[in-house]
């Protein structure tokens, strides 16, 4: 497939996943802030910190903004100048989809376009004031619809693999960030009663869409060790670091990418990260959660950076003779 199109597919996957993840995080944190007897600052500031936008938020809206749930939500949902706001993710996903409509097919385009038209229109703005939870739910359902259509309507070949690679790498980063955010909240709630501790762990699982899967696996027992190990290493849970990393690596192997420098470097980095996580597990997690997660996030970011513009097969090889469809 055309290298530029591969790049668009990759980013389309990332933006759709990012919009979903951000909406879910806001939705869960909002619930947490209502229940958890924690000051708002302790609930909302970590969300802004792990999104990487804490300095910008306080710069634009003042030092107190991170403790103001409404301000944080507005900033993370609507702000045009926040690169990771839901608005910018939906917009970028829609622009990406528009430029590769002929590759992704009509259904995915229409789902993405409808989300965009709804979100930018008056209905979403009004609903945000009246029934905010429904706005987050709508975003999540639409993005999930797009991703479901990817797997059920696209040919399972290169374009879908690039798109799914984007989804998986975005998701590793998001799960790692969410865990790290929880680390910040937990730190603030240190010494609190065990009931609150449990509530926080459950909230974390919800933030990763893992509540029910975890409860089934553990039959209702909640402990720090098992939650952390579930989100890091449970290979059957589609949002754990291990699942996402291994799926991404399998996609790298499926895609005949060995010809281009960028993808080779990224693949090697992610393989090393996968081995490093294995070692951490064997050694009984010697690092603090924060140090471990920071390493994961940094490596994923570096890997995605290496992929940037790296989807081009090298020119000095013999040309591909057959149209790809015939192969």
């Amino acid at each position: 497939m055309i290298s530029r199109v591969a790049d668009h597919c990759f980013w389309l996957g990332r933006y759709i996943e990012r919009a979903e993840s951000t909406a879910r995080l806001l939705q869960v944190t909002r619930t947490l802030a209502f229940d958890a007897e924690l000051p708002p600052l302790y609930c909302w500031r970590p969300l802004v910190i792990v999104s990487g936008q804490y300095p910008e938020l306080t710069h634009h809206l003042g030092a107190d903004a991170a403790g103001n749930g409404d301000a944080v939500q507005r900033y993370m949902t609507w702000a045009p100048d926040n690169p990771v706001s839901i608005r910018n993710s939906i917009r970028a996903a829609r622009e990406g989809a528009r430029s590769i409509r002929e590759v992704i097919g009509h259904d995915i385009w229409e789902a993405t376009n409808e989300l965009y038209l709804w979100f930018m229109g008056e209905v979403a703005a009004a609903q945000y004031l009246q029934d905010r939870d429904e706005v987050y739910r709508h975003i999540r359902r639409s993005t999930q619809l797009s991703l479901g259509l990817v797997r059920s309507t696209m040919m399972h070949d290169e374009p879908m693999d690039f798109l799914w690679l984007g989804v998986m790498l975005e998701r590793v980063g998001q799960t790692a960030r969410t865990l790290d955010m929880h680390y910040h909240i937990q730190g603030a709630a240190e010494g609190q009663q065990p009931l609150l501790q449990t509530a926080l762990w459950l909230s974390l699982l919800r933030a990763c869409s893992g509540f029910e899967a975890y409860m089934r696996r553990e039959q209702g027992r909640v402990s720090r060790e098992s939650v952390v190990s579930f989100l890091l290493f449970e290979a059957r849970f589609p949002r754990s670091l291990r699942y996402c990393l291994r799926t991404a690596l399998a996609l790298f192997r499926r895609l005949a990418l060995t010809r281009s420098g960028g993808t080779t470097a990224a693949r090697a980095r992610l393989e090393a990260l996968d081995r490093w996580l294995d070692q951490q597990e064997k050694d009984g997690l010697p690092l603090s959660e924060h140090a471990l997660l920071t390493h994961v996030v940094d490596e994923i970011d570096a890997g995605c950076g290496e992929l940037q513009g790296g989807f081009e097969g090298t020119d000095d090889l013999p040309p591909v003779e057959q149209p790809e469809a015939a192969q």
Binding site: R101, A256, E324
Partner: protein, 498 residues
């Protein structure tokens, strides 16, 4: 939406078409001067007979929502990033009778055949110049004539693979050619999308009446392109070349690639090596054989056209000249749809085909001819003046509506550069019943028609119908989408011949 139609049947009187009258001195596509409905258009009258303003407004809103969700948009260049707008559509279809269409089809193929022979001749022997069918200075003065191409033959032999011929109907009921588009005519995607919307909103009606289908256009197009490949058509790679998502017709580029199942590329995806064209893929370069390019000549190849430009694919013209890649349409076609050449097309048909033109055109004054120029300058306030190298309704003077300052400006321009201008008496374009949202009723609005003609190795094929554009503003003659125009579904009556 079937429900709506059933509901409609029970509604009281005061229907949306009640009191509809043709404009004075204008041909209406639905009703005759006496008020009776034209026979072939009865299907539309029947469709609307049971609708009041509320039901029609609901159908219209459904149609607009469907188009927005499907992303049927065009971009307007008025700001940096290009704003996307949904192509305005009027749900009242325009109908063409079977008999008239059959004649039109013959006339379009005749015209295209002659224009193709004209281009072959111009970039070959130039008999038209030697035998003075066209004044040489008009050819050499055309900015779209490319003397560098003289002697080159396009791979596959065809030059005008895709043509869009603009037609208008004058008050005497005669359809006339207003303009030829032989470079990158656009609009066919709206034809197909409009039909989808009509089917969705009026399912029962479309089921009952015989309308010729339009959805096989992409299949016909890809077969046309395949047939002119320089290599084995079955093993050829065909691509659509777009300037990118900010181009005003990007929706169509994407639509065509998608519905033909071929790749949409930008210039930066292609490169030329050893006179062959390649596309950069994740598996390395892959040879490309046919390019349906939706970029202007000037942006094809910086080596050839504009050394200062970064746009285009360096070496593409070399590959074309070497016969290793087919460009559709061929470079250099612009000279044949130059507005200054247009007045001579009937003569070209007679010269090359020894036939009389089947389709009329609009009598035209060529300002390069001194007698014509004097007439134009003396009657400027009655004429429509067009710059020969502009399109989309730009560079135009509507004499009857113009201010004194505008008239003076054009008088000066014509005097200083007569070659650049032609003039015509304003034709009272025919009207079609059109939904006027603000008034919540149907009124006559002016329309034109752009049929599309595909030409491959084995001859020409005409898409039944084409794009009907409508000037949505009351009193307006300008149908261009960039200037307040919309479109309509165009129904060709299925006749005994089809």
């Amino acid at each position: 939406m079937v429900l709506i139609e059933q509901e409609v049947a029970r509604l009281p009187a005061s229907m949306v078409l009640d009191g509809y009258r043709a404009l004075e001195g204008t041909y209406d596509e639905l009703v005759e001067t006496g008020g009776g409905t034209r026979k072939h258009a009865l299907m539309v009258a029947n469709l609307l007979a049971n609708m009041n303003a509320d039901t029609f407004a609901r159908c219209q809103a459904l149609a607009e929502l469907a188009l927005a969700q499907r992303g049927v948009t065009f971009s307007v260049y008025s700001d940096d990033r290009g704003t996307e707008k949904v192509m305005p559509v009027c749900l009242v279809p325009r109908v063409i009778g079977a008999g008239e269409w059959a004649r039109l089809e013959r006339g379009l193929v005749q015209r295209l055949t002659a224009l193709q022979l004209f281009l072959d001749d111009l970039y070959g022997e130039q008999r038209v110049l030697r035998e003075r069918v066209i004044p040489a200075e008009l050819i050499f003065g055309s900015k779209h004539y490319l003397p560098q191409l003289k002697g080159m033959k396009p791979p596959g032999g065809v030059r005008i693979h895709i043509a869009g011929i603009d037609l208008i109907r004058s008050p005497d009921g005669v359809l006339r050619v207003l303009e030829d588009n032989l470079r990158t005519p656009s609009g066919v995607s709206y034809v197909i999308e409009n039909r989808l919307v009509t089917k969705r909103v009026f399912p029962a009606a479309m089921d009952r009446i015989g309308v010729r289908r339009v959805d096989d256009y992409p299949t016909q197009l890809v077969e046309t392109l395949r047939s002119v490949s320089p290599e084995d058509p079955a093993r050829s790679t065909i691509v659509v070349l777009t300037p990118g998502p900010f181009n005003s017709a990007y929706f169509e580029h994407s639509f065509l690639a998608r519905s033909m199942g071929i790749e949409l590329v930008e210039a930066s995806d292609l490169f030329v090596s050893g006179d062959e064209v390649f596309v950069k893929t994740t598996l390395g370069p892959r040879r490309v054989h046919v390019i349906y390019r939706r970029t202007d000549d000037a942006y094809i190849d910086p080596e050839f056209f504009r050394p200062d430009s970064m746009l285009g694919v360096p070496g593409l013209m070399r590959a074309w000249a070497a016969g290793r890649v087919t460009l559709a349409n061929a470079p250099g076609n612009g000279v044949a749809d130059d507005k200054a050449i247009y007045p001579y097309v009937p003569d070209l048909i007679r010269f090359f085909l020894k036939e009389e033109p089947i389709i009329e055109q609009v009598p035209t004054f060529v300002c390069a001819r001194p007698a014509d120029r004097d007439y134009v300058l003396a009657h400027l306030d009655q004429l429509v003046v067009k710059a020969v190298d502009e399109a989309g309704g730009y560079g135009m003077l509507m004499g009857p509506d113009a201010s004194a300052a505008e008239l003076d400006m054009f008088r000066e321009r014509i005097t200083s550069d007569p070659r650049r201008y032609i003039a015509q008496h304003r034709i009272e374009l025919s009207t079609s019943p059109t939904w006027v949202a603000e008034e919540r009723r149907i009124e006559p609005r002016r329309i034109d028609l752009r049929p599309f003609i595909l030409t491959g190795k084995s001859g020409s094929w005409v898409l039944p119908g084409g794009l009907t554009r409508v000037a949505l503003r009351a009193g307006s003659y300008v149908v261009n989408s960039s200037q307040g125009g919309g479109s309509k579904d165009t129904w060709v009556e299925a006749g005994a011949t089809s």
